[in-house]
C-alpha cells in the first residue's frame, strides 16, 4: 500500500484482522517519509509484516519512475530504521528452498541443514552443512511473494510507447462488475504469460493497459478468494497460496493496495483444502 495513503489503506485492509498498532503506524508515517527522501524513490510502498518468533520484520518497497522496474526492498525491526535488502538472485532462491519453518525474527540467525552431495567420480557421498542466513531467506521469501501475489487493478498502470510504465492518473477505479472478476487484476511484475495467449485474446488487449499477467490463469485455480465487504463498497481479495496477503480496492475510487501480514510460509496444502 502506498505510504501516502497509509492510514486509509490500513483501515480498508483491516477486514483480515491484521493491522498495525498505533505506535507502529505513527512511526511508519514518519520513517517512510524519510526513506522516500533519502533514497529518492518516486513511491514508497509499505509491503507488510512478516511475523517471526522473536521479532517481526516490517518490509517496505521503493519504486522509481518506472513502476515495473525491479523494486528495492527495505526491512526494519522497529519501523524506524530501515535497511536495504539485496536483490534476490537465483542462487538465493535455491538455497532457501530447503529452509522450512517459521522466521526467527533475528536477521543474523542462521539456518543449518545438511545436504548430501554425491561425488560420482569418487563415488563417495559426503554431507555438507549448508548455512543460510535469515536475511537471505527474507529476501527470497519477499521476492517469491511479490512474484506470486503482488497485484494491481487493471488500468492503474499504463505503459508508454517509450517503455516506462507510469501510474495512471486518470484511473478512476474499477466498476463493480469488473471488480468481481479475477481477470481485472494483474500481477505486479513483468509479464511472462502474455505470449501464450491466443491471437483472438491478444486482439482484444489494449497494449497500454494490458501488459501484465492477469490473475485469472493462476494455478491452482481457486487460489484467490474474492469478497465484497461493506455491501458493495469494498472488494477484498485474499490469497490462499500465501495466507496473509490481502488486496483491497474500493470500486469507483482510486484506492487500492495490498499488504502481507503473515508468517512468510507458502500454503502447500492448498489443493487439499479447496
Amino acid at each position: 500500500m502506498d505510504s501516502e495513503s497509509l492510514l486509509l489503506s490500513l483501515e480498508l485492509a483491516s477486514g483480515s484482522g491484521q493491522g498495525l498498532s498505533p505506535d507502529r503506524r505513527a512511526s511508519l508515517l514518519t520513517s517512510l517519509m524519510l526513506v522516500k527522501r533519502d533514497y529518492r524513490y518516486e513511491r514508497v510502498l509499505f509491503w507488510g509484516r512478516i511475523l517471526g518468533l522473536v521479532g517481526d520484520y516490517y518490509i517496505a518497497q521503493g519504486l522509481s519512475e518506472d513502476q515495473l522496474a525491479p523494486r528495492k526492498t527495505l526491512y526494519s525491526l522497529n519501523c524506524i530504521e530501515w535497511s536495504l535488502l539485496p536483490p534476490a538472485t537465483e542462487e538465493m532462491l535455491l538455497q532457501t528452498s530447503m529452509v522450512n519453518g517459521r522466521f526467527m525474527g533475528d536477521p543474523s540467525h542462521e539456518y543449518e541443514h545438511t545436504e548430501l552431495q554425491k561425488v560420482t567420480e569418487a563415488d563417495k557421498a559426503f554431507e555438507e552443512e549448508v548455512v543460510v542466513k535469515e536475511e537471505t531467506r527474507l529476501v527470497s521469501v519477499v521476492d517469491q511473494i511479490d512474484k506470486a501475489v503482488a497485484m494491481v487493478p487493471r488500468g492503474a498502470l499504463f505503459k508508454t510507447p517509450l517503455g516506462p510504465t507510469h501510474v495512471n492518473r486518470t484511473f478512476e477505479g474499477l466498476s463493480l462488475s469488473e471488480a468481481k472478476k479475477l481477470g481485472s487484476y494483474f500481477h505486479f511484475k513483468e509479464a511472462t504469460e502474455l505470449k501464450n495467449k491466443t491471437l483472438l485474446e491478444k486482439a482484444d488487449l489494449d497494449p497500454s493497459l494490458d501488459f501484465m499477467d492477469s490473475l485469472e490463469y493462476d494455478i491452482p485455480k481457486g487460489s484467490w478468494s474474492i469478497q465484497m465487504e461493506r455491501g458493495n463498497a469494498l472488494v477484498v481479495l485474499r490469497s490462499l497460496l500465501w495466507p496473509g496477503l490481502t488486496f483491497f480496492h474500493a470500486p469507483y475510487t482510486k484506492n487500492y493496495g495490498y499488504i502481507y501480514v503473515g508468517t512468510g510460509e507458502k500454503n502447500i496444502d492448498l489443493p487439499f483444502m479447496l
Binding site: 483501515e11 498498532s21 496444502d269
Partner: protein, 715 residues
C-alpha cells in the same frame, strides 16, 4: 506578437501555441508574465512558443467568448477582459494542426520561427480545425484596437471559418475562440502578412471549408463527429486544467466519449449496482436504531443491571495495541450486533470470540452461555443415528444362517458431551456481517472433532455447504466450523495465573480422577500480575478451557461400560468378544484444567506461544500480548488485571509438515476362511484318473462284497 501568431495560425502549421497566446492574454489567471497590449513585436513570437504555459491558465473567458455569435473579430478584441495580454503564450497545448488543412502561409518569416513548435504540437492534439478557431466567435474580449486592426486586415480569412463555425456555435469552443483571437491579434502588428493573407484567401477558405466539412462528418459507428469530439475534449481539458495534460490526453478523450453514452442509462445502472450496499446499510441502520426502543426506563435499568454484554470496544482498543484490529467502525457494528443477540436471547454471558475467514464470506463468532434452564437443545438427532447403527447389526442376525457373518462391527459411537460441559460448555452463534441474523451452531460431537483433526479444508462461508474430504466428515460446514471452534478454544484460550480458581465446593474426588475438575470461577482476590512478568514467563498464563482428548471429548468416556448396558440386544458371541476388547482400552488423560501454558508442547523446536510487549517505546502503559504459533491468528492480551482472547484467521492449525490425508484402512477380513468358502484348485488330469481308478476299485470291491454276501445268503 499576436499579429504574428494570428498569421501563423492561418498557416498550415499554425500551432496552438500561438493560439494559446491570445488565450493567455485573456486569461486573467494566466501565470505568465504580464505583457503590454496585444500588439507585440513579431520577434517575440518564438518566445512565447517556447515558453510552456499550461493551458490551464486560460480562464473561463474563452467560454464567454464562444457564446457570442460568430463573426466579429473585433468584438473579440474588444471584449478581451482586462487581462493584460500576456505574453507569450507558450506553445500552447492547443495544437491546431492545421498542417494538413491549410496551405502554408507565405509569410515565411513568421512561420520560420514557429514551424517546429507547431509541427510538434500538431502531433498531440486532436485536430482543431480552422473551423474551430473561427467558431468561437468572438465574444472575445480581445483587448486593444490593435487586435481590431488585425482582425480587419484579415476579415476574409476567418470568414470561411465563421460561416462554418456558425454550425458549431452552439458548442463552447474555446479553442476556436482563442484561435480567432489570435487571428485578430496576429494581424495587427504584422504588416507583411496582411498582404499575404489577402493574396490567397480563396485557397485558404476553400481548404478550411473542406477541412471543416471533413471534420464534421458523422462517424458511421456512432453519432459523433470529430469536430464536436475535439471541441468537447478541449473544453473538458480547459475546464479541469490537469497537469501535463498531454500525457493523459487519450484517457480524456475516452472519458468524453463515455460521457456521451452513459447519459441515458445512468440512473438504471447505478441503482442496480449499488443495491447490496444499500441493503446492508439498511440492516445496519436497524442495528443502530434498536437502542431507541421506547420501552421505559425499567428496561434500561434492567439492562444495566444484568449486563452480560462484554465491552467489545475496550477489548478492541487493547487488541489494536497488539496489532490486531478489525477497523473501529466495523468493531462498533459488531458490538451492536452482539447487543442485538443478547437482547433477543436469554443469555447469561456473552463474548466476541473472533472472526473466521472463508472463501466467499466470513464468519463472526460469538461465544454465549445461556441462563440456567433456558437451553434450546436439539440432541435428539444424534440418538436416532446411534440406534440406527445398532438396528443394522440386528438385521444381519435375522438372515439365513448359511451366510457367513461378517466380523466387522462399526465402532461404537462415542456419545457427545452434555451441554454445558466439556467441549459443549458454550454455545456459539455466527453471522456473516453485523446486521445479519445470528445463527446458532449445533453442538459438537466427539466423532466430528476426531475427523476434523484429520482434515484441513477452507470454509466457504455458507453454513450448509458440504465438507467433502477423506475421511468423510460427518456433517456439513456448520459442524466443521463448530468443531474447529472447539479445538481452537481448547488450544488457545488462556488467562493470567490466578484469575480463575477452582471452586471450593467440590468435595467429590471421584470426579477428579476421571475427568479432572471442570468448573472454575473468577478469583475475587486476584491482584493482577505485572505485565513484564506476563511477557517473560509463560507459566503465568493458564488454559481455562479443558483440553480435548484424542477421543474427541473432554471427559473420558469408556466405550466398554456403555456396551455392557446394551448387551441385551446382542448374541452371546458378541458379548464375549467385547469382553475381550475392553481390556485394551486405556483411559485417555489430558492435562488438567488451569495448567500453565509453559507445559504446552513445542511444535518441532518452535515454541507454542510468542509473547510480546505491545510497545517498546512506552513500556509503562504497554500490555502483554500472546500470539499462538500453533493456531496462527489466536491472540491474547492482558494488562495485568484484564485479559481477553480472540481469534482472527482461517481456522486451521499450523503444522510444519505438509498435510497428507490419512491412508484408507486395510481391507477387513469379513468372513472366516474355511473349507466352505475356500477356493480349491481344479484337479489335474493325473489326479482325476487316479481318483477314478480309486473309485472304480472301490466300486468293484463293493460289488465283490455284495456277491460274497449274496453267496453267503444263498447258502
Amino acid at each position: 506578437m499576436e499579429a504574428s501568431t494570428i498569421l501563423n495560425q492561418e498557416e498550415e502549421s499554425q500551432e496552438p501555441g500561438e493560439a494559446g497566446q491570445p488565450w493567455e492574454e485573456m486569461a486573467a489567471a494566466s501565470s505568465r508574465d504580464q505583457e503590454p497590449k496585444l500588439p507585440e513585436p513579431m520577434e517575440s513570437e518564438p518566445g512565447p512558443e517556447t515558453e510552456p504555459q499550461p493551458r490551464s491558465s486560460l480562464p473561463g473567458s474563452p467560454r464567454s467568448r464562444a457564446s457570442t455569435p460568430a463573426g466579429d473579430l473585433t468584438t473579440f478584441g474588444a471584449s478581451l477582459p482586462g487581462a493584460s495580454p500576456q505574453d507569450p503564450l507558450p506553445s500552447p497545448p492547443l495544437e491546431l494542426p492545421k498542417l494538413d488543412l491549410v496551405p502554408p502561409w507565405p509569410s515565411d518569416k513568421l512561420t520560420s520561427a514557429i514551424p517546429d513548435a507547431e509541427t510538434t504540437r500538431s502531433d498531440h492534439v486532436e485536430h482543431t480545425t480552422d473551423d474551430e478557431e473561427s467558431t468561437p466567435h468572438p465574444t472575445s474580449q480581445l483587448e486593444g484596437n490593435a487586435l481590431q486592426q488585425s482582425q480587419q486586415s484579415k476579415p476574409h480569412l476567418p470568414q470561411p471559418g465563421h460561416v462554418t463555425s456558425n454550425h458549431s456555435q452552439q458548442k463552447e469552443l474555446r479553442v476556436g475562440l482563442f484561435l480567432e483571437e489570435d487571428w485578430g491579434s496576429n494581424e495587427d502588428p504584422d504588416q507583411v502578412e496582411p498582404e499575404v493573407s489577402e493574396a490567397a484567401p480563396n485557397m485558404l477558405e476553400i481548404a478550411v471549408q473542406n477541412a471543416k466539412a471533413y471534420l464534421l462528418q458523422t462517424s458511421s459507428k456512432s453519432s459523433l463527429n470529430l469536430y464536436d469530439h475535439l471541441s468537447d475534449m478541449l473544453t473538458k481539458v480547459l475546464d479541469e486544467r490537469p497537469e501535463n495534460a498531454v500525457e493523459i490526453i487519450e484517457s480524456i478523450s475516452q472519458d468524453v466519449k463515455k460521457a456521451h453514452f452513459s447519459k441515458k442509462l445512468d440512473t438504471l445502472q447505478n441503482e442496480n449496482e449499488m443495491l447490496p450496499a444499500y441493503e446492508l446499510a439498511e440492516k445496519q441502520k436497524a442495528l443502530f436504531l434498536q437502542g431507541n426502543l421506547e420501552e421505559a426506563d425499567q428496561d434500561l435499568e434492567d439492562e444495566i443491571a444484568e449486563n452480560c454484554l462484554p465491552n467489545v470496544m475496550e477489548s478492541a482498543f487493547y487488541f489494536e495495541q497488539a496489532g490486531v484490529c478489525l477497523g473501529t467502525d466495523a468493531t462498533y457494528r459488531i458490538f451492536l450486533a452482539l447487543k442485538q443477540l443478547t437482547d433477543t436471547h436469554p443469555i447469561h454471558k456473552c463474548r466476541f470470540w473472533g472472526k473466521i475467514l472463508g472463501l466467499e464470506m466470513n464468519y463472526l463468532v460469538a461465544e454465549v452461555e445461556f441462563r440456567e434452564g433456558e437451553d434450546e437443545e436439539e440432541g435428539e438427532e444424534e440418538d436416532v443415528a446411534d440406534e440406527k447403527a445398532n438396528g443394522e447389526s440386528e438385521v444381519d442376525e435375522d438372515e439365513e444362517d448359511e451366510l457367513p457373518k461378517p466380523f466387522y462391527k462399526a465402532p461404537q459411537a462415542v456419545p457427545k458431551e452434555e451441554s454445558r460441559t466439556g467441549a459443549n460448555k458454550y454455545v456459539y452463534f455466527v453471522c456473516s456481517e453485523p446486521g445479519r441474523p445470528w445463527i446458532k451452531l449445533p453442538s459438537v460431537t466427539p466423532v466430528q472433532i476426531v475427523v476434523a483433526r484429520k482434515i484441513k479444508k477452507f470454509f466457504t462461508g455458507r453454513l450448509d455447504a458440504p465438507v467433502i474430504s477423506y475421511p468423510p466428515f460427518p456433517g456439513n460446514e456448520s459442524n466443521y466450523l463448530r468443531a474447529q471452534i472447539a479445538r481452537i478454544s481448547a488450544g488457545t484460550h488462556v488467562s493470567p495465573l490466578g484469575f480463575y480458581q477452582f471452586g471450593e465446593e467440590e468435595g467429590e474426588e471421584e470426579e477428579e480422577v476421571e475427568g479432572g475438575r471442570e468448573s472454575f470461577e473468577e478469583n475475587p482476590d486476584f491482584e493482577g500480575i505485572p505485565v513484564i512478568d506476563l511477557v517473560e514467563s509463560l507459566s503465568n498464563w493458564v488454559h481455562h478451557v479443558q483440553h480435548i482428548l484424542p477421543q474427541g471429548r473432554c471427559n473420558w468416556f469408556n466405550p466398554v461400560q456403555k456396551s455392557e448396558e446394551e448387551e441385551e440386544e446382542e448374541d452371546e458371541e458378541k458379548e464375549e468378544e467385547k469382553a475381550e476388547e475392553h481390556d485394551y482400552i486405556e483411559q485417555e488423560v489430558g492435562p488438567p484444567l488451569l495448567t500453565p501454558i509453559s507445559e504446552d508442547l513445542e511444535i518441532r523446536n518452535v515454541p507454542p506461544w510468542t509473547t510480546r510487549l505491545s510497545s517498546n517505546l512506552i513500556p509503562q502503559y504497554a500490555i502483554a500480548v500472546l500470539r499462538s504459533n500453533l493456531w496462527p491468528g489466536a491472540y491474547a492480551f492482558s494488562n495485568g488485571k484484564k485479559f481477553e482472547n480472540i481469534y482472527i484467521g482461517w481456522g486451521h492449525k499450523y503444522s510444519p509438515d505438509n498435510y497428507t490425508p490419512p491412508a484408507p484402512p486395510p481391507v477387513y477380513e469379513e468372513y472366516p476362511s474355511g473349507p466352505e468358502i475356500t477356493e480349491m484348485d481344479d484337479p489335474s488330469v493325473e489326479e482325476e484318473q487316479s481318483f477314478r481308478a480309486a473309485q472304480a476299485a472301490a466300486v468293484l470291491e463293493a460289488e465283490q462284497d455284495e456277491e460274497t454276501e449274496d453267496e453267503d445268503e444263498d447258502d
